[in-house]
Amino acid sequence: MRGQKLFLLLLSLMLLSGCVQKEVVDDVNIAVGIGLDKKDDQILGSVMIPVYKTDRSIENFTFTSKGTVTRDIIFQMSHKSSQPIVTGSLEVGLFGEEVAREGIIEFLDAFQRDPSVGARVYLAVVDGTASEIFKGNYGDRGNAIYLSGLIQQNTERGNMPLTNVHQFLFDFYQKGKDPFLPLLKKTQPDLVNIAGVALFKDEKVIDSIPTSKMFYFKLLVDEYSEGTIKIKADNKESVIKSLKSKYKFRLKKRSPYEFDIHINIDALVSEYTGRTVSKKVVKKIEKQLERQVASECTKLIKKFQEKNIDPIGLGHFAKTQTRGFDFTKWTEEYPNAEVKVSVDVSIAEVGVVE
């Protein structure tokens, strides 16, 4: 009898205390992309919503609204929408250049705070405005899938180092490391390009790396890469596909700081304009690539030091190697730190052409 009463009590507690808000999949507007631009003094937010047509094609619809913070902008948009806008299925977040130059961390708060937003949402800075990118029609699977696919594909197989909300926030909150994001640019009405890597100082974009230097950048910040690079050796052009690369930092001296970065590349020749790739040629290509990578990487690091940004995380590395590390001292010393890059290339394969 007592058990029954308890059961009834529990049952009524369960059933009467109210349920979680339902979000039935076809009764909500699923935001898949969000873009933030600067307009006048306010932020112009755009939210991308796929419209699934009965013939299985996907159309893109964009809500835009003005406001000051992300959640408020989305709330403003719901004034125009017949169904609630839900953000659990975000794929990409784009930031217009102007916004990115003024800092994006306050907008990212909405991404971090909401547990339904994934940590692997891609973020990107737009050379231009995000709303412009949202206006196009790319691919046949919807704009958001196109944009996230663009970044994902270039991360997995191209020269783009891995970036997403998780990585960005990690780099941001990690002392002695600065974040970076892909830089997108709309070049044609139905195509978006990766235009390079946007470099941040804290939360503000201050510089970018062009696509031609992205291979070297990825060697410095990403463990595994499958990028390609064209090099010239012996007046013959060859395209090298990097199978695997690894980098290793070493702290050699502390005052002044001296670092040694060793990059190991296992590569293969995927194209060569000369005739046969003999062992001699392979040696030459290896030597040339080593020289090229070393000099380009050194140049990149020099540039970072000039701008006083640290996307490869030397400060963080130094901290892990030093007891009682002093960051204020480090920021002063960083531009003068000496960084040596040594490269070891081994070409494993030259293809089947004899």
Partner: protein
Amino acid sequence: MQNERSSSPEKNQQHTQNKNEEKKNSEDWEKTFLKSKDFTKTNYINQKTGKPFTFVFMSTLVDEKILSNSVLPALLEEELYQLSDIKKLLPIPDVQLSTEKSEIEKKLFNGYVMLFLDNDKSLFAFIAAQKEVSRSVSAPEIEFSVVGPKEAFVESLRQNINMVRKRMPIKELVSEEFTLGSLSKTKISILHVEGITNDEIIQTVRQRIKNIEFDEIVDSSYIVQLISDNESSPFPQLLDTERPDRVAAILAEGKIAILVDGSPHALIGPTTLIEFFSSFEDYFLNWVLSSFFRLIRVFGVAFSILITPIYVAALTYHYELIPKDLLGTLINSRRVVPFPPILEALFLEITIELLREAGARLPTKVGQTIGIVGGIVLGTASVEAGLTSNVLLIFIALAALAAFTTPVYKMSNTIRLLRFPFLLMAELWGLLGITIAFCFLMTHLIRLTSLGHPFLEPLYPPRVQDLKDAFIRGSFKDLNRRPSYLRTKDPIRFSGEKSHKKKDIDE
């Protein structure tokens, strides 16, 4: 009560007495008997000694051929002076002398013929002349197997025990008999192998069966419900089988079997949850194949229980879990449906349940097939009418199909039922609700016992050795030990070392 006309030795014919006279002279024990038409009482006179004697029997229960061929000629033509002489005269193995009047009813209704000499009614003999009416042994229908024996139990206890004994012709196979039911007087037999089966199991069963208070026991499934550890559980705690070969196999493992007269199903215990997913055909196939089929079955059950709740949960609460490519398909199929996912799912689930229930009531097995096919046609129509989404229809049809893979009928009924609480919890709290429902299910299963032995063994408590014949069926060479949870008196079935030896080369 002697009839004068039959006193002369020459006219030794059968004389039926006048009913009225009979009633007047009848003794106490006969009063109720006389109301039945098939109660027969006949008088005879022995030719040599002139002794009159009387037969009393139930004509519907007695094989009259035995009477006229073996009993009557001897009794009429040989020298019969006193009742104890019949032991010499009758060519029948089961003849008992008795003075107990209380035994009369029991014996008469078990097909015995009562015989007494008219001058001494206190002593009487019972002659066995039972009429055996039972259908012939046929192929198993529920636990059908392509290979292997094609014998199934029938409704006769004697026939059933015969089929088991043929497969295990040893004296250690003990059959204990009980009579249960104040009205049905059903004979129940417990089979076990002495020297293997743990005494505690036998004692438990014996005790529970003795404690049964019931009037009419019609089938073995009554016994299951009466002696189950937890009678409110939807899970059957004794395995029922119609295969004598399976009974012989589990007896060898150290389990016990309960056979009930009038029921073509034997009960096996103690059993585990895993055993309900193993078909006996698994042992007829190579262990690699049967292990694969068992895994398929386990997957089928999980799929059958969980797929609709997951559909409801994901579509109602967790749109972010759905892959982007699938989202279009789901939204398109859902767009025209006016109901929330739960109503849509309940609508289809109940349709399938109705069809299954109707199919089971249809006279032939074809009815079932037609029912399912009809269900899919009905489903397609309801998709076209915009009542349900076609994605869900596929899921429901697959789930129904997957539930049929369970080899034990009683378990597939349980699975039918289990889906609904999961569905309701999915509607209430999404995936969290499914998890909670699963916790309840697991708690219930962990607490459940079969004849005092854990139902979830070998998963909980974990018994690595017994896992050899759980999700996978190990090869016969590896199954050289009896299941450890049964605590058998002789845990080793055969020498594992010897069985692993290869004897290719003669030395």
